[in-house]
């Protein structure tokens, strides 16, 4: 099977769906390549990190629409287009720009189906780059999946690898509700085996990345790779770790998490989001509520500190959860017996 980067897999998902369904359009800053994005421009870059490269030349400026720097207009236009029958993919570029267009997403797109008694649908995908580690500073490095997860009416996807990214994005485009699709920019170059054809991955279906008998680690996005590194390292010391990648935070595959905790009796949650009201607290609460009887040790969370993402490289590295901190958490829950 061909190996593809996550960038290529995301591009392919959009390309296949735009070929299959003429109502799928792409709208955002620089998605066509900037400078007004005309099809005549030779091979425009396709976004700041090249994810939409080639889509303008294949589908033309009517379906690949460059906008001014105006997030509220992008999201408002996309939400409106969605309820009138198109399937827009709207790009927010960096998820940090969310603050500019909160109303369009939270109070409009997320509420249409509910407010109109099911008579309106908003089949909209909002793509945005997320996460730290890219040396991009506090205003371009946040991991804000928890904010979207908090809002009923939004579905939230955070892929950790190229295979999942393609299948989840196709699923998102075919979904009849607004889906927030968050792409960790440091994962764009990671390659995996990705089939050429279209396929879908249903939401709320976690992936068991590793299976072990002692500790469950729930991790999202690039934290999956940190958790997997620790699982492989500690397997040599005889500590068996199950790594679960929920893939979507809303809806969340609660069953798989509880099933894994039942098998292992210990839980570590690794989350790049800010620690208050986060995926880490949500999963910890879920297991404390419904899986308490299976626990052999208190739940551990591994998260960044509750601060903005530092710009100084040494501080940014210290900010992100790493294998050392995850291993320490695993050893801590292993040391405790209830």
């Amino acid at each position: 099977m061909p190996r593809k980067s996550m960038r290529a897999a995301i591009n392919e998902a959009m390309r296949l769906e735009m070929r299959r369904d003429s109502t799928v359009i792409l709208i955002g800053e620089d998605v066509a390549g900037g400078r007004g994005g005309t099809a005549e421009a030779s091979d425009p870059p396709g976004g700041v990190l090249g994810v939409t490269k080639g889509l303008l030349s294949e589908f033309g400026p009517d379906r690949v629409i460059d906008t001014p720097i105006t997030e509220s207009a992008i999201m408002g236009a996309a939400a409106g287009a969605a309820i009138t029958g198109l399937r827009p993919i709207a790009e927010l570029m960096f998820v940090d720009f969310l603050g500019v267009c909160l109303d369009q997403i939270f109070n409009q797109a997320a509420k249409f189906r509910y407010m109109f008694g099911g008579k309106a649908r908003a089949p909209l995908v909002i793509r945005a780059m997320t996460g730290a580690g890219f040396r991009a500073g506090a205003q371009h490095s946040q991991a804000l999946h928890a904010i979207f997860t908090h809002i009923p009416g939004l579905k939230v996807v955070v892929p950790s690898n190229a295979y999942d990214a393609k299948g989840l994005l196709i699923q998102a485009i075919r979904d009849d509700d607004p889906v927030i699709f968050l792409e960790d920019k440091v994962l764009y170059d990671r390659e995996e085996e990705v089939p050429d054809g279209a396929y879908t991955i249903p939401f709320a279906e976690a992936r068991f990345v590793r299976e072990g008998k002692d500790v469950t680690i729930v991790a999202l996005g690039k934290m999956v790779h940190v958790a997997t590194e620790v699982a492989d390292r500690l397997a040599r010391d005889g500590i068996g770790i199950t790594v679960i990648d929920p893939r979507t935070t809303s809806p969340l595959d609660e069953d798989s998490i509880l099933e894994a905790v039942k098998e292992t009796g210990r839980l570590v949650v690794v989350d790049e989001g800010n620690p208050r009201c986060s995926l880490a607290t949500d999963v910890a609460a879920l297991v404390a509520d419904l899986g308490f009887d299976h626990l052999k040790a208190p739940i551990k969370r591994v998260t960044p500190p509750h601060t903005p993402v530092p710009f100084a490289p040494a501080l940014e590295d210290a900010y992100l959860p790493d294998a050392g901190r995850v291993e320490a958490a695993v050893r801590a829950v292993m040391a405790q017996q209830r």
Binding site: M1, G167, G197, A198, T200, P202, E205, R207, E211, D255
Partner: protein
């Protein structure tokens, strides 16, 4: 003489590690290339590992019953003339083949266009009479694992992804067993194979039977594992549930019915099958296949009456606890057909009793 290594084998795409169940020869014993020297156990199966060269088994390196990654050095073969310190140096400098590299070499599927349909197949081993492996409904070329790896030491073994399956196009040549057999004949012609030993599981067994009746000259022997096409009954509920399942848990629940021993159904297996089922076009292909080989509550085609015309050796292997197609379909076979029923095994004898199936097929191919 060079020093030869025996390493942890990789049987199937999901195998990452295995343990030595037993050594069949001791240190200092002579071995010949191809001889079974130890038994390895992975999470799914137990099977023999063969000597990679002739000589003396000089070292057994890792303890029994502990898991070691695929590619780990397990033993060393060399003749008496090789000094002990040369062997120590060989062991010290041995570098296990990276799992990914090995996976790429193992998998490296080939593609061929047959009647406008892209067909993916895996070919292993280069010499000897070809062996064609035909998987069952919803299966693929990756499901043979041990069987393909182990027959490839003496044969050119071809595992095909039938139309609608695996990495082949999700378009069918036709839904019935006979349609599929005609297509398999065209596939063999296209890749330039005149005659092969044919091994078929379940639906693939029915296709193998139809192929033999259709073009006897192409088939050197027939090994049927819990085959379709020998009687009316089939578990239609299973087939429908398998086709309808979209989530890993539902796929897992369906797959449990294939096995007598629950532990063969791992999350990894279910995830692999789910990956296949998620592809666009698979649902439609499987729905159409079902129409082709199920009529009412039973199988649409029955080749039993054609068996006496077949004059190549036929071996039928069936698990007594098969919940998909009853083992009683192997009752009252014409003289000359060898039937072996295996206790404690369900619909997947090549997985649940891999060892027995491999030995049985090897014996047939040797004869």
């Amino acid at each position: 003489m060079p020093i030869a290594s025996i390493t942890m084998p990789r049987w199937g795409l999901t195998m990452q590690e295995g343990k030595i169940a037993a050594w069949l020869v001791g240190v200092g014993d002579s071995v010949t290339a191809g001889m079974e020297v130890l038994e390895v156990e992975s999470s799914k199966l137990v099977g023999p590992v063969e000597a990679t060269a002739s000589g003396i088994l000089r070292r057994q390196l890792v303890p029994l019953e502990l898991d070691f990654p695929v590619g780990t050095l397990l033993g060393v073969i060399a003749d008496e003339s090789v000094a002990d310190d040369a062997i120590d140096a060989f062991i010290a400098s041995f570098k296990p083949i990276e799992r990914d590299v090995q996976a790429a070499e193992d998998a490296a599927p080939l593609t061929v266009v047959v009647d406008g349909i892209n067909i993916s197949y895996v070919r292993k081993g280069e010499s000897g009479m070809p062996v064609l492996l035909l998987h069952g409904f919803g299966g693929d070329s990756g499901g043979w694992g041990l069987l393909q790896a182990s027959l490839s030491s003496a044969h050119d073994v071809i595992a095909v992804d039938l139309p609608g399956h695996g990495a082949s196009d999700k378009r069918l040549a036709g839904p019935s067993l006979s349609d599929q057999a005609r297509f398999v004949a065209r596939f063999l012609e296209t890749i330039g194979i005149d005659r092969a030993h044919v091994v078929g599981h379940s639906m693939g067994g029915g296709i193998a039977l139809a192929l033999t009746l259709m073009c006897a000259a192409k088939v050197a022997s027939l090994t049927l594992l819990a085959p379709a096409g020998l009687g009316p009954e089939i578990n239609v509920d299973y087939l429908k549930d398998f086709v309808a399942a979209e989530r890993r848990k539902d796929v897992e629940a369906a797959l449990e019915r294939l096995f007598a021993q629950r532990h063969f159904v791992s999350r990894a297996l279910a995830e692999n099958v789910t990956k296949y089922k998620r592809q666009d076009g698979v649902r439609a292909a499987l729905d159409r296949l079902l129409e082709g080989f199920v009529r009412g509550a039973g199988q649409a085609e029955n080749f039993r009456s054609g068996l006496p015309q077949i004059d190549v050796p036929i071996v039928i292997l069936w698990g007594l606890d098969d919940r998909i197609i009853p083992a009683s379909h192997a009752d009252a076979m014409p003289a000359g057909v060898v039937v072996e029923r295996i206790e404690g095994v369900g619909h997947m004898p090549h997985v649940e009793a891999a060892d027995t199936v491999v030995r049985r097929i090897r014996a047939l191919l040797r004869s």
